[in-house]
Amino acid sequence: MRRYLVALRAIVTREALRFISQRGRFLAALVRPLVWLVVFAAGFRAALGLSIIPPYQTYITYEVYIVPGLCGMIQLFNGMQSSLSLVYDQEMGSMRLLLTSPLPRWWLLFCKLLAGVAVSILQVAAFLAIAAGFGIRLEPLGYLAVLPVLVLSGLMLGALGLFISSAIRQLENFAGVMNFVIFPMFFLSTALYPLWKMAESSPLLARICAINPFTHAVEAIRFALYLEWNPVALFWCVAAFAAFMALALWGYDPARGMARRRAG
């Protein structure tokens, strides 16, 4: 057991050190949601009227509504970016090094995921602190309650990225995946607009939003921030994590050969 934890610590430390040395990445991760919060939300505030929907108990401004969605967006980008680094690692050989460790492969990949989640939580914390500076303050306990949910949603989005990284061959393809995964997941979710708003314009799109795992991640985060319990969203996050993780492990199975395409 000790060996497992030592490896976990080594992998998380490496990821954190890499993250610190890439200041540009941290800045980009912060600026992206802040632009949405400060610019996009200000413009949309007038256009979009929000009624009182759970977990909110009073009228809220649009900025307040999109904060949980932007937390999710940070994690979505981070999950995809970690897997971008995996694709890069494979090409640099660090993934090979990782996989020659004498620990089970599922554990190594899980450690890699947790390391990415830790980084994403740092980003979310920084974002929430700045949002508080703009006057969007939540219940103090909400910041604590959201932590375990962020771990779960981060794992789920990271596992999706991991699966994608096992399935794509080159960095070039990744740009396409970003467009076909990140944007649809983000826009077809409740991050920017509540489900009923979407249903008003298109019932079909609303139905797609309702099954999008990212929607459930955002809702789980939203409810946790307001100290409410959303078992349905949490269940969907767990189920989606299990499914994505199974796919990722299948993708990295040596008998199938992740290195098949580049060895020889």
């Binding site: 060996r3 080594a10 430390t13 050190l17 890499r18 990782l98 008998a255 060895a263 020889g264």
Partner: protein
């Protein structure tokens, strides 16, 4: 049985057969050269030996542990230097080694001791605080060899480790690894450069996925040079 034993390993990429019944062994205390031109199947063999791929047929044994049946025990006894660099350029030398030690479950004082010993062995102790980015190609390779030794492996695999290095670094690294073999390590060194092989070294000549010859370098060379013999066997130009 010690060292590395490969028995009748076959592997195909779709319809293309990359390895066709390869058998070889790398004994303890010997520097075994896996000599083959580009495309001979050396990298595929290394991917199988390090379990990035799993061979559907054949058997690989590392220090007595079957790689297919007890992969973790086998991997724990194996040190690997990959052909591509696998270092994080922004970490310091010591940090890179601490990371690797952690992957093998080593931490604290045990890891520190193993790291210092590995650095001393390759003469890199005084560079421990430098960033990897600051090292030249030869030192980066040395660092990767030092890293491969941290967990005290019995078998050391190196896949064309001198690619891209200047003549002096190449000679130094080849000599270091010969010393490691002389101290009792089982070494398998893949290369297409005959001048990295000493006359007494066992050589396995791999060509188009098959083992053409397995003997000491002097036996293969006969009355001529190893380069000529290699060229005659594979019909391709050997690099000096």
């Amino acid at each position: 049985m010690t060292g590395l034993i490969v028995e009748d390993v076959r592997y195909s990429y779709g319809a293309k057969r990359a390895l066709d019944g390869v058998s070889l062994s790398a004994a303890q205390g010997a520097f075994t050269a896996l000599l083959g031109p580009n495309g001979a199947g050396k990298s595929t063999l290394f991917a199988l030996l390090t379990r990035l791929l799993v061979a559907p047929e054949g058997r690989i044994t590392v220090a007595g542990h079957d790689l297919a049946r007890t992969p973790r025990a086998a991997l724990a006894r194996m040190g690997v230097v990959f052909q591509q660099p696998t270092l994080d350029l922004d970490l310091t030398v010591r940090r890179s080694l601490v990371y690797f030690a952690g992957l093998h479950g080593l931490s604290g004082r045990g890891a520190e001791g193993a790291i210092d010993a590995a650095l001393d062995r390759l003469g890199m102790r005084e560079r421990a605080g430098e960033r990897v980015r600051a090292l030249n190609g030869g030192h980066r390779r040395r660092l990767e060899i030092a890293r491969a030794l941290i967990h005290g492996p019995e078998v050391l695999l190196l896949d064309e480790p001198t690619v891209g290095l200047d003549a002096a670094s190449r000679a130094a690294i080849t000599a270091h690894v010969h010393d490691l073999a002389a101290e009792g390590m089982a070494v398998l060194w893949a290369t297409h450069l005959v001048d990295e092989i000493a006359t007494g070294d066992p050589v396995v000549v791999l060509h188009r996925g098959r083992v053409l010859r397995s003997a000491t370098a002097s036996d293969i060379a006969g009355s001529g040079s190893l380069a000529d013999a290699f060229l005659a066997m594979t019909g391709e130009e050997a690099a000096e």
